[in-house]
Symmetry: C2
Amino acid sequence: VSELTYRTAGVDVAAAAEFVKAISSEVASTHGPEVVAHSSRFAGLFRPDLTGLTDPILAATCDGVGTKVLLAREASDYTGLGIDLVAMSVNDLLPLGARPVLFLDYLAAARLDRPAMEAAVRGIAAACRMASCALIGGETAEMPGAHPEGHLELVGFALGLVDGERLPDPSAMSPGDVVLGLPSTGLHANGYTLARRALFDVGGLSPDTVLPELGQPLQDVLLTPTAIYVDQAMDLLGRTPVRAAAHVTGGGLHDRAKGMLQPGCGITIDPARYARPAIIDVIATVGDVPWPEMTGTFNMGLGFLAIVASDQADGAKTAGWLEVGEITAQDGEVDLGYG
Amino acid sequence: VSELTYRTAGVDVAAAAEFVKAISSEVASTHGPEVVAHSSRFAGLFRPDLTGLTDPILAATCDGVGTKVLLAREASDYTGLGIDLVAMSVNDLLPLGARPVLFLDYLAAARLDRPAMEAAVRGIAAACRMASCALIGGETAEMPGAHPEGHLELVGFALGLVDGERLPDPSAMSPGDVVLGLPSTGLHANGYTLARRALFDVGGLSPDTVLPELGQPLQDVLLTPTAIYVDQAMDLLGRTPVRAAAHVTGGGLHDRAKGMLQPGCGITIDPARYARPAIIDVIATVGDVPWPEMTGTFNMGLGFLAIVASDQADGAKTAGWLEVGEITAQDGEVDLGYG
């Protein structure tokens, strides 16, 4: 009987250490002066710049990329998915007005897949640079028997900082307030189970199908990375008091719009005031998906929403913000203009 | 053709919302005055108590539970695994002297499995209470097609706070320093791929086998939750300057002991000065696993190590700390007493 080792049992600790070495320059590219160098590898250390914060509050989020990972796997392209991973978590900090400061990633697979994992980390590091946050730690887990061969699980954690005196104030919301929105780059990383079912199972299309209204393979359209809204959101929140804001993810434009509302308030968003990505119409048509299901699943073209007082709207329309709707007096009513 | 909805496509957003409601009292049981109440559900907010910290530094970690999840699945028992999840991340903060303050969890499965997920969250909440940290957020992901039916992926993220003036100082390490250790409760959450291979594949045992030297089913021994070392580590680090410390996880007692060493230092740990759990001997014998592989994979009975000056050792031996070895002048040498 040959002796049993951890490596023959399916876990290669030495290869994992090589992987960590290979990604070290990518990781370091995200580090600013707030990252604290130290020799222990148990945790990342970060000295937050609290200058000017009267009441420093931490904001924390975590998220994955859902079944968008299945498309990335078919395309053997994980760099964009790394961007999605960071975007999903850091964008969730922004509705609270929190500036992202640090990020950690968790990657797990049945076997260490260096090309896939290194591609994912390149995307994660690029996105951290875009979001001005430091990638200060992470975990790479090799779990034979727990994951199907070829599956890569990606999970992200983001931490932000906000001054308690500058948190959004939903109680000030009132009819007549203006709804601002930021364009999405496509589906972002939400609703892919429905999208894949509609396009591939019901519609009989395949990832390499090129539809005239899209002009490129479905796979490329679907793998477009999620927009990172850090600069635009911090620009707005830095100059304008915001009633409420939302990153448009699970539950789609409908649920996220409704989720911002205060008692006595409704919301109307005009589809003529923003561009709906063509992939949305393809999914609805090819998959025979009713519009209420579409608006309750997808962002419809708006990846981020913010509500401001009407006299603040003009000043706020910088950095690509669109005025897309208003707060009404119809308690709890959401009118997205989809009949 | 019946209309396609997100629910028929395999993702039940309403059931996910019900799950979040069901766990809310567990989550709230971990909240102290530092948790900031607010109506947005995008991020958790936490106002850290910075009193007495001259140089506040954040420490961040993330981790999963490895293939221990496969045993929990066979036993349909995820509460202990929730404790493991918190322990793996919060214990990683302690070698830096950081006090855990908040935790987030990520749970993913092909289908929402409420009994399994609620059991996991009960364990997570119980462990957060033990670790005095607040569970302020998390993500529950339903990912049909990405995970095998029945698999539950658990990932945890922990944040801690440390005063920069109280970080361990490895440069002060010198021969004659004392190695302190804390007993483990068993394998914790590391080395399960090797353990399962040794016990079940090579050894032909099954999870319900009761070996006389263990006195209970293998499954119960293997599912014992990881010890949470927060109180013991903070007690030591609060009263004694520490050279270095280690949470004994991947790489086992050997690699974690070696990882603490400074140039010109070696380490010796005496197996007679701590108790080796019986499961360790069973794995080595039944699986014919050589001792160097055992010490490079498992904690051998010591879940946490700390190095202090010899004149500090007596005062440090509170709260269950054992004096298990010393720092030698043999540069880079690790002697664990296993031939």
